[in-house]
């Protein structure tokens, strides 16, 4: 266990180094000129030179990479090139709006998906099962932009049930995140129900279920007593792996609904070639991804003693 954890943690070092390399390299080639953005259209050449020197743009790629790593280790991500705000403040500011959208969507969505897939698995082969399966496959076939556009047009613009755009810090946020949360749930339930249903059905076809039935247990007892506890393992793993994406947020929903979260922050930063923000965001995303993947493996082993971590 300790050995497994140590090895996974050690292995994550080269992975994070690689992520840092990819993000910096992509930006090196792709990024626009941040100097032009900072100084306006017709800047003074001397000023440009000074700024380039200050931002370290003259250094070789390797030097920039090293200083990126040094920054990452000291957890100091500098200030945004766009408006000189410390990157840390940008993150703290964006975290609440993102979580106020993603957490309720995740919790409600997962609850709905798990419940629906259990019900459907219980009544497998029946009309309910077929209807839900058909709805799920139809639901995942609609583009997320269509959901957003129709939601905004019908529910917000025509029926005035929700505000179209904007955000309010504090309890007023409920009002603004309601529609995006609804759309998020619609987007995720289809995929999740399909996955969870397969997991439960796979479990139902195993030998121990046949034994339990042979003992004369009721179908409900078999499903909720035996099958659920065994299919909980892959379900929990999948939900754990999804957690990092709650922090990085849904950039589409945030852009469309004007929610000033981390997703829309990253999007603006990429557009503005705001390297410090992009770098910090990438590393945060990668660290969370790696950490929660390790956690998922640990949970898997903890719930299922048959699995040996090696």
């Amino acid at each position: 266990m300790i050995q497994f954890l140590t090895r996974r943690l050690l292995y994550s070092i080269p992975v994070l180094l690689g992520v840092a390399f990819i993000s910096l390299y992509l930006f090196h080639v792709a990024g626009g000129d941040p100097v032009a953005m900072k100084l306006g259209k017709a800047p003074d050449p001397a000023e440009v030179e000074a700024l380039r020197l200050e931002l370290g743009l003259h250094d070789s790629f390797f030097i920039q990479y090293i200083s990126f790593l040094r920054q990452f280790l000291s957890l100091d991500f500098g200030t945004s090139w766009a408006d000189d705000t410390p990157v840390r403040d940008i993150f703290i500011r964006g975290l609440m709006p993102t979580l106020s959208l993603s957490l309720p969507a995740f919790v409600l969505g997962s609850m709905i998906s798990v419940t629906v897939s259990l019900v459907v698995a219980f009544y497998r082969g029946s009309l309910i099962d077929k209807a839900v399966t058909a709805m799920a496959i139809a639901g995942i076939s609609v583009s997320s932009l269509i959901y957003i556009l129709l939601g905004q047009w019908v529910l917000a613009d025509r029926w005035k049930l929700f505000p179209i755009w904007g955000y309010e810090y504090g309890p007023g946020a409920v009002f603004f995140v309601a529609l995006p949360v609804l759309i998020w749930i619609t987007l995720s339930v289809g995929t999740d129900v399909r996955y969870f249903r397969t997991v439960v059905l796979e479990e139902i076809s195993r030998d121990y279920v046949r034994t339990a039935r042979a003992k004369g247990l009721s179908e409900a007892r078999v499903l909720f007593g035996h099958v659920l506890s065994n299919s909980a393992i892959p379900i929990i793993t999948r939900l754990t792996i999804a957690i990092p994406f709650l922090v990085t947020g849904s950039f589409l929903l945030e852009i469309f609904f004007g929610i000033p979260g981390l997703g829309s922050t990253l999007y603006t930063a990429i557009q503005n070639s705001d390297l410090p923000v992009v770098k910090a965001f990438t590393m945060l995303g990668a660290v969370l991804y790696v950490a929660f993947n390790i956690l998922a493996d640990l949970l898997y082993a903890w719930f299922d003693p048959r699995i040996r971590l090696s």
């Binding site: 992520v19 080639v29 792709a30 997320s144 932009l145 269509i146 589409l252 990438t282």
Partner: protein, 317 residues
């Protein structure tokens, strides 16, 4: 001497299982119809040359139609789905969008399959250092936040050396840079899943007896890999291709909306992004047309993909 009895081919058996579901067959036919429209749209454009039909106003084509948005009506085939706010025929744009969707879907998924399959086969078969390198590459790529990878790559392909490389190709006349861009972005971001699956499966298959037997017969590595291992993991490729095809045409919509996708030719993504302002003026038909076209194609690929998975799953025999 009589020919040896090889038994039933597994592909034929899978096809027979697939055929049992009439809905799946229906969706497959629908998919073929889309493919026909895409090919037809491309042929018309090749034969027609520039300026392309879809860029003309209906009034320029000698029809008595105002140069504004008009609702769908049955008077002329080009007006069946209405006209855009510039007076262009929606149906022609949907047809061209079908061609774009097929290029994005098949080339994007194709590129992703080529990368994922090659790396997966090599890693799973040869093991050792080369396998470790491949595992490292995909673990790293998977850890980069997806939005960043996708958007940054979209910018890179557009501005960087890859765009220059693109222009030197003969096909750059037929495939616009925006389209090429999306294909490359999708190919480079979506290969990890297939690579993982293939690698794990090849690792299992290479220890099976028939592979040992092939080795004992003195067959070369390449021959075993392509003639004996590949056919046994190929069902994963087919299923993954259908999944990535869907991801690709859905990503086209999102990338185009964000301004790094298809430009200079109509696509479903473009029609959906335009709809944002059009809807507020009550012009719903371009959105309805492109949205439904996208939905039906996605649905048929999803359904056929599911049916293929069941038909190819050896456990269900």
């Amino acid at each position: 001497m009589s020919t040896p009895d090889y038994g039933e081919s597994p592909w034929r058996a899978a096809w027979i299982r697939f055929r049992r579901d009439p809905v799946a067959v229906g969706f497959l036919a629908l998919f073929m119809a889309y493919f026909g429209v895409a090919v037809l749209a491309q042929l018309v454009e090749l034969w027609d040359g520039a300026p392309f039909l879809y860029e003309l106003n209906l009034s320029d084509m000698g029809m008595d139609v105002p140069e504004t948005a008009t609702a769908p009506e049955l008077s002329h085939p080009l007006r069946w789905l209405g006209t855009t706010s510039a007076g262009k025929s929606v149906i022609l744009r949907v047809f061209h969008g079908t061609k774009v969707a097929f290029v994005v879907g098949s080339c994007g998924a194709g590129l992703s399959v080529i990368i994922g399959l090659t790396l997966g086969l090599v890693g799973g078969w040869f093991g050792r250092t080369i396998d470790e390198i491949i595992v490292y590459i995909y673990s790293t790529v998977a850890s980069v936040p997806y939005l960043l990878l996708m958007l940054a790559l979209a910018f890179v392909v557009r501005q960087g050396p890859i765009a220059a490389y693109y222009r030197s190709f003969a096909f750059s006349e037929f495939v616009s840079l925006g389209l090429f861009n999306i294909v490359v972005v999708i190919g480079l971001t979506s290969w990890v899943t297939l690579c993982r699956l293939i690698r794990a499966e090849v690792k299992k298959v290479r220890e099976l007896e028939y592979v040992h037997a092939a080795r004992a017969l003195g067959l070369s590595d390449t021959r075993i890999l392509f003639k004996h291992v590949l056919p046994n993991v190929f069902h994963l490729v087919i299923i993954n291709f259908s999944l990535t095809f869907v991801t690709a045409i859905k990503s086209e919509v999102i990338l185009t909306f964000l301004g790094v996708g298809v430009d200079r030719e109509p696509s479903w993504g473009q029609m959906i992004s335009d709809a944002r302002s059009e809807l507020m003026q009550g012009v719903w038909w371009p959105l309805a047309a492109s949205g439904i076209a996208l939905f039906v194609l996605t649905l048929s690929v999803n359904y056929v993909g599911d049916a293929l998975r069941d038909a190819l799953d050896p456990r269900l025999k």
